[in-house]
């Protein structure tokens, strides 16, 4: 847990600002991040750039599940990325970076990688 304590945490917004299954974009240390709140109120953060197009758009994707894993679908070419580890379901060699997330006093905070 000491490792976690060393992280820099960026407060993004109140949890209530994020609609369930409708992510928002955030800037964390200059990097665009997609912040996802699932239907059961878990919160995930992934790098916002879609590796297939290079566009900063993942936060605008549809959230759901594929084979029971929570995913977000890129709005450009519809590849699915697992919320838990950022892996692309269609191409095992591709992944997006994920960020640690915590909710403190109702505020979503995203940790440095």
């Amino acid at each position: 847990m000491t490792e976690l304590a060393d992280r820099t945490w960026t407060a993004v917004c109140p949890l209530e600002r994020i609609q369930r299954e409708r992510p928002v974009g955030a800037l964390v240390a200059g990097e665009p991040v997609a912040v996802v709140r699932t239907h059961d109120d878990r919160v995930f953060a992934l790098h916002n750039v879609d590796p297939f197009s290079g566009a900063s758009v993942l936060a605008r994707g549809i959230v759901g599940d594929v084979g029971g894993r929570p995913v977000i679908a890129s709005p450009l070419f519809k590849q699915h990325f697992a919320l838990e580890d950022g892996r692309c379901l269609e191409d095992a060699d591709v992944a997006v970076a994920t960020y640690p997330v915590r909710v403190v006093d109702g505020v979503v905070q995203i940790g440095s990688q």
Binding site: R17, G25, V35, G54, A55, G61, I62, P75
Partner: protein, 860 residues
């Protein structure tokens, strides 16, 4: 290597070459085809569609592979004119001399034109080739365009199968069709007296004027430049064109010249091997008289082609019995005839059911014990044809009368399972049920297209295609219609559920009828259903989470993450003031502008946080959302119509504007495009639209199921000469029926095709209310029209919705730093690579470039 020369490139000649090339896997044969026409073989069975829906390319039979085949030399427009049997050399009109080892005559037939006075006048045609149809179309065009004319008439001499096709063609071309038939009934070869009587009544209701039991005495030019056709009973018909369709004669001239025996009524005599008296000359198709008998249908011709191809590759096939079954739709009337239709077999009994109210006539011909089926005639409703024909020569599964009882109790209840394996499903290509079942069991085919590819069933006239689907189902092949892993239901089933249960949130629907949390497939699909069933704003509550990014930001996502903006310009009309507003916005926000194919203006390169400001200005100037982002109505394109055009016959712009305003915002399974043309010149390209309207002198023709894109399709005529009220009501129902029953992302063309019964079924449902749902469709559309509100105006008034238009929740004003633009041809486009290629093509080798005048003037 040996050479086979094929004289004639019609359907049968083409089939022969295809079959020989398929069988000759070692490349033993070189094939030389000598064709009289300037086009490679085309589908003559579907000839009439050339005047309504098909292009010459649609009808072509020779694919690229065929045309590129090194072992096939195709010489078009070069008729064989002489044949030297001893030297085995054929000479063409163009002077080409080709030596052959074997020669196949596939010259087909020529239309028979009785030598009545005036048969050689201008505006008198035959109905055989695409060139004939082009000439007919041109003459009909002149006739209908002539000033001051009422509706012009056309006379078809001959009321057989082809004559009725020709009459339908005249109707398509805008003429009033008359048919003159010498026999006491239409289609005397195929149908009996009872069937003929009903057929006459049904085609009469469709506007065909039928004259039976009379012949044509003469044709003369009248003083106004038209034609007068005098019949044997002394009556006279005024006509703009006359079409002879009084039968065909084998084109056996070449064979006669070299002394080959011909049959009494024409046709080169061949034996069961399809070989003439000369052992190196064969004859197939309509020119051949097998054991003295000629055949005017394509299926026996194909069988002959297969026999000769087999013989030349070492086989011993023989032409046996020909299937003379026919099923066709003439002017929308089903007619089928199979086996011994006229009950000439000894002891044959006839079982008839004549229902003038339902407009259906059925007759079965059975053996004297009533158990074996020998033939039949169906008029008005031929839905039982495929199954019944399968029982030809077989023991019937029940009482013959019960089989032709009205649908539901009759043959439909028998089902494909009862058919014996020997039953022929595809008569064009002689494919039996057994062959189909084998292809399915062996795993070769599990879909209808695969069955077509590996057995050729349904590849010619296509009438058995619905039966192929039934064979698949009977073999236990289930085609999954599940929407996605979260819903086992098809989109149509789910729509029914949502409509019936009143569930109005995705969460409730997936909990009750699906599993998991949904995905990018089912969520937008359900969002679309909720939009038409629940109404409200697409960004209200949970609905916002279901929307694709385009619907979520009410703009179109582009490859660099920016969006494009399309305000609605109903019917493509825009004022100068409106153009200035759009221009100022484009200038102030640095947007790239482009005119769309749908007569609108698209502005590219807007970031999400700019969208509300752009729309504030657009809404203030009176614009509203164009729904370019939605699976919904896009545009109703129009020509200028009677407002400006010298030729327009109706006010196409007013109708286009009215239709666009009526259906704007209607969410549908896929995008919807429309067009309205003010006359038959069709400048609005309405027939390439999901629903297209073309003005006639007396109203509107409605076409449905067209699209451009990946698989271009022409829309097909659904109804003619509608008044505006009926037109709008019909479109209302068409759209709502589509919204309710189509698959996700299925455009109207494949949807219409997927309806069992196709366009006719659609017509029955939405124009005759055969399912009793029209009131509900009307009510749903009325609700849509009443509840419509501009989505963008609503967003601008709702702070909660406006909050969504930010790139970064913790830096609301900050633009996305990854979005960059570069200059390209003086325009602003996204920077960066596309598919590994630089976006600029400025350095491409187009050769010397002529500078624009503006560049010269400013010295660029």
């Amino acid at each position: 290597m040996r050479t086979v020369v094929v004289v004639g490139h019609g359907m049968v000649g083409h089939r022969f070459v295809e079959s020989l090339r398929r069988r000759d896997d070692v490349g033993d044969w070189r094939v030389v085809v000598l064709a009289e026409e300037s086009r490679p073989a085309y589908d003559r069975v579907a000839l009439s569609s050339y005047l309504s829906t098909a292009s010459a390319a649609d009808l072509a039979l020779a694919d690229e592979e065929f045309l590129a085949d090194d072992l096939v030399d195709l010489h078009l427009d070069d008729r064989a004119v002489a044949l030297d049997r001893d030297a085995r050399v054929v000479t063409t009109a163009g002077g080409r001399r080709v030596s052959y080892d074997e020669l196949v005559l596939a010259t087909g037939s020529v239309p028979f034109v009785p030598p009545v006075p005036g048969h050689d006048l201008d505006d008198v045609f035959v109905y055989r080739t695409l060139d004939d149809l082009d000439a007919l179309r041109e003459a009909a065009g002149h006739a209908t365009a002539r000033a001051g004319a009422g509706r012009r008439a056309g006379v078809v001499v001959g009321g057989g199968l082809l004559g009725l096709e020709a009459a339908d063609a005249l109707r398509t071309l805008g003429l009033v069709p008359h048919v003159v038939e010498m026999a006491p009934r239409l289609m005397p070869v195929q149908v009996d007296e009872g069937g003929g009587a009903l057929l006459r009544r049904l085609v009469g209701e469709l506007g065909l004027r039928v004259h039976t039991g009379v012949s044509t005495s003469s044709i003369a030019r009248d003083h106004r430049g038209g034609l007068t056709v005098t019949l044997s009973d002394g009556s006279e018909l005024d006509a703009s064109v006359v079409v002879f369709s009084a039968g065909i004669r084998p084109a056996d001239g070449l064979a006669r010249e070299i002394g080959l025996p011909v049959a009494e009524r024409g046709g080169v005599l061949v034996d069961g091997r399809c070989r003439t008296q000369d052992e190196h000359i064969w004859a197939i198709g309509e020119v051949a008289a097998v054991e003295g008998r000629t055949y005017g249908l394509v299926a026996p011709g194909y069988a002959m082609a297969e026999v000769v191809a087999d013989r030349l590759t070492g086989g011993d096939a023989r032409f046996t019995e020909a299937d003379m079954s026919t099923k066709l739709k003439l002017l929308g009337v089903d007619v089928a005839s199979f086996g011994d239709a006229h009950a000439v077999s000894a002891g044959a009994l006839e079982v008839r059911l004549d229902d003038p109210v339902a407009g259906a006539y059925s007759k079965l011909v059975v053996t004297d014990d009533g158990r074996t089926l020998l033939g039949g005639v169906l008029v008005g409703d031929a839905s039982g044809y495929e199954i019944l024909r399968g029982f030809l020569g077989e023991t019937l599964p029940g009482d013959p009368m019960a089989l032709i009882a009205p649908a539901g109790d009759g043959v439909a209840a028998v089902g494909i399972e009862a058919l014996p394996d020997s039953a022929q499903i595809c008569s064009c290509n002689a494919v039996t049920k057994g062959v189909l079942v084998e292809a399915i069991r062996s795993g070769e085919a599990s879909t209808v297209p695969e069955l077509k590819a590996c057995t050729r069933a349904g590849a010619t006239c296509g009438s058995c295609v619905p039966t192929l689907g039934k064979v698949l189902t009977a073999c236990g092949v289930e085609v999954s219609t599940a929407l996605c892993e979260h819903f086992a239901q098809s989109r149509a089933e789910l729509y029914e559920i949502v409509m019936a249960t009143g569930l109005r949130t995705f969460s409730a629907i997936v909990e009750s009828y699906g599993r998991g949390r949904g995905c990018d497939v089912c969520k937008p699909a359900v969002a679309s259903m909720l939009a038409t069933l629940a109404g409200g704003h697409v960004l209200d509550g949970e609905q916002a989470t279901l929307q694709d990014t385009n619907d979520h930001f009410l703009a179109n996502l582009q490859r660099n993450g920016t969006y494009s903006v399309v305000p609605r310009l109903p019917g493509g009309e825009v004022s100068g003031e409106g153009l200035i507003v759009i221009g100022e916005i484009a200038r102030d926000f640095g947007l790239y502008t482009k005119i769309t194919g749908g007569q609108r203006i698209d502005m590219f390169g807007a970031r999400v946080e700019q969208l509300p400001a752009i729309w504030r200005r657009l809404v203030d100037a009176g614009f509203e959302s164009g729904h370019a982002y939605g699976k919904s109505l896009r545009t109703v394109k129009s020509c200028v119509g009677t407002d400006w055009c010298r030729y327009g016959v109706q006010d196409s712009v007013s109708l286009a504007v009215a239709l666009e305003l009526r259906y704007r915002g209607l969410r549908s399974p896929h995008k919807l495009k429309s067009g309205v043309s003010g006359c038959a010149r069709e400048c609005a390209e309405a027939r390439s639209k999901d629903f297209g309207v073309i003005a006639t002198e007396t109203g509107w023709n409605l076409y449905v199921g067209g699209n451009g894109g990946f698989t271009p399709r022409h829309a097909e005529l659904l109804a003619s000469d509608l008044d505006t009220v009926t037109l709008v009501r019909t479109i209302d129902r068409f759209l709502m029926f589509y919204v309710r029953t189509a698959d996700r992302l299925q455009r109207t063309a494949p949807w219409v095709e997927s309806l069992e019964g196709g366009l006719d079924h659609l017509r029955e449902v939405i124009m005759e209310d055969s399912l009793g749902i029209c009131a509900s469709l009307d009510e749903q559309m009325a609700r849509h029209v009443a509840d419509y509100a501009d989505e963008w105006a609503a967003v601008l008034e709702d702070p909660a919705k406006l909050e969504r238009f930010t790139s970064f929740v913790n830096a609301p004003g900050a633009p996305d730093p990854s979005v960059e633009f570069v200059d390209h041809r003086g325009h602003r486009v996204p920077a960066g690579m596309k598919d590994g290629q630089p976006t600029s093509v400025a350095e491409l080798g187009f050769g010397p470039r002529i500078p624009l005048r503006s560049e010269l003037e400013v010295g660029v």
